[in-house]
C-alpha cells in the first residue's frame, strides 16, 4: 500500500499560494477580502470549539469542526484543516481520548494559523 506523504511531511500551517491558485487571481484587494471573510467566520467558531471540552459537547464540537473544515482547506490553512478533519472523525468514531488530545492542540494551532493569515493580509495590504 502506498505511504501517504502526510505521515512524514510536516504540514504547512498556512500555504500563501493555495488561495491565489484556486481563484486564479493575484489581486491583493480580492485576496484580502477572502482572508478576512475566513477570519470572521472561523475565529468565533474555533473559540466556541475550545469551550466544548466536555465529552457531552463532542457532537457540537464535530458540527463546528465540519463548519470550518472546507474553508480552512480552501484558504490554505492546511494543518488546521487536517486537525479539524481528524477531530470530526474522532468524535464520529466515539474515540474520546483522541478527541481530547486533538482538542488540546486546537487552541495553539488556531492562534498560529490566524496570526499567519493576519500577517499575510498585512503584507498584501502594503503591496
Amino acid at each position: 500500500m502506498p505511504v501517504t506523504p502526510r505521515l512524514f511531511t510536516p504540514l504547512t500551517v498556512f500555504d500563501h499560494e493555495l488561495l491565489p491558485n484556486l481563484l486564479n487571481c493575484r489581486e491583493p484587494g480580492e485576496l484580502i477580502t477572502f482572508y478576512n471573510v475566513f477570519l470572521q467566520h472561523a475565529e468565533p467558531i474555533s473559540k466556541k470549539m475550545q469551550q466544548n471540552t466536555s465529552p457531552d459537547e463532542y457532537v457540537v464540537l464535530a458540527e463546528h469542526a465540519h463548519a470550518i473544515k472546507s474553508s480552512s482547506y480552501s484558504i490554505g490553512a492546511i494543518r488546521l484543516a487536517v486537525l479539524l478533519t481528524e477531530l470530526e472523525e474522532a468524535v464520529h468514531a466515539g474515540n474520546r481520548d483522541a478527541t481530547a488530545t486533538l482538542l488540546r492542540k486546537l487552541g495553539p494551532l488556531c492562534e498560529l494559523t490566524f496570526d499567519a493569515i493576519r500577517q499575510h493580509v498585512n503584507e498584501l495590504s502594503i503591496r
Partner: protein
C-alpha cells in the same frame, strides 16, 4: 461548448450554490463566474425557499450535503428540488461514504462530488447535467414551491399540506411528504422500497424493515381522502408507483 452556455439560449447558465460555509461558497462562485456562469449563493434552506418563491429560476443547483444541525439536510433538499423544481442537482460533500452517495443519487441528485473538488471536474459535471437537462419553464400560475400532482391535487413544500378538489386538504408528515416526492420523481417507473428508503432516510435499509410499507399505507389513505383519482399502485417484486 462552454459549460456556462445552457442549451436553452445564449445567456450564461445560472448556478445556485447552497452551502453554509461563507468562504467556500465565495470561492466557488468566484471560480464559476470566471468561467462565465451567473451565481447565486444561499447559506440556509429558508433563504433558498424565499428566493424560489420570489421567482429565482436557476439552471442548476449545487447543494452541500451537510448544512448544519439546525438546517434541513442536503438529502431532503435534493429530493424536494427534484420533485418541485425539477432542475439538475449536484451534491457537493466532504462525505465520501458509498451509502451517502447512493442515497443522494436515489433522491434525485444528478451528480455527487466529494470536496475539496477540482474546478475542472465541477465544470465538466455541470456541463454534463446541463446537456442532459431540457429547458423547463414553470407554469406561471403557481409558485415553484407548490407541487402540482394533477389538475386538482397539490402539495406545499413548507407546510406539507396536500390540497384536493373542492378545498379538501390533508396534512402530511415530513416522511409522508418525502415519500410522495420520491413517487413523483419516479412517475415513469416503479420505485423499489430500498430506493425509497435511501432517498428519505439517507442510509441502507435492512431487508426486514417495513417503514416504507407503513408509510405507503398511511399516504394512500390520506391521498384517497382528498382525491380518489390518484393512487399508489403496488407492483409485485418491483415496488410502488404513483398512478395519476
Amino acid at each position: 461548448m462552454n459549460p456556462a452556455q445552457h442549451q436553452s439560449g445564449p445567456a450564461a447558465a445560472h448556478v445556485l450554490i447552497l452551502d453554509d460555509d461563507p468562504v467556500y461558497t465565495r470561492i466557488l462562485a468566484h471560480q464559476l463566474k470566471q468561467h462565465g456562469f451567473e451565481c447565486t449563493i444561499c447559506h440556509k434552506d429558508k433563504e433558498l425557499l424565499v428566493r424560489l418563491k420570489k421567482g429565482l429560476n436557476p439552471d442548476v443547483f449545487i447543494l452541500d450535503y451537510h448544512l448544519g444541525a439546525k438546517e434541513a439536510s442536503g438529502l431532503d433538499l435534493c429530493r424536494k428540488l427534484r420533485a418541485y423544481v425539477n432542475k439538475p442537482v449536484i451534491m457537493l460533500s466532504a462525505n465520501d461514504s458509498l451509502e451517502t452517495k447512493v442515497s443522494c443519487l436515489n433522491a434525485g441528485a444528478d451528480q455527487y462530488i466529494v470536496k475539496p473538488c477540482n474546478i475542472a471536474e465541477l465544470l465538466a459535471r455541470i456541463g454534463v447535467v446541463l446537456r442532459n437537462s431540457p429547458a423547463r419553464v414553470h407554469p406561471s400560475d403557481r409558485p415553484p414551491t407548490t407541487l402540482q400532482l394533477d389538475d386538482e391535487l397539490t402539495l406545499e413544500w413548507e407546510t406539507g399540506k396536500m390540497s384536493g378538489p373542492t378545498g379538501a386538504h390533508m396534512q402530511l408528515t415530513d416522511k409522508e411528504a418525502a415519500l410522495l416526492e420520491v413517487l413523483v420523481q419516479h412517475r415513469q417507473s416503479p420505485v423499489s422500497r430500498y430506493e425509497a428508503f435511501q432517498s428519505i432516510y439517507g442510509f441502507d435499509m435492512s431487508p426486514d424493515n417495513r417503514s416504507i410499507d407503513i408509510l405507503v399505507s398511511r399516504l394512500r389513505k390520506k391521498i384517497e381522502s382528498v382525491n380518489r383519482s390518484i393512487h399508489i399502485k403496488t407492483l409485485r417484486g418491483q415496488g410502488y408507483r404513483l398512478c395519476l
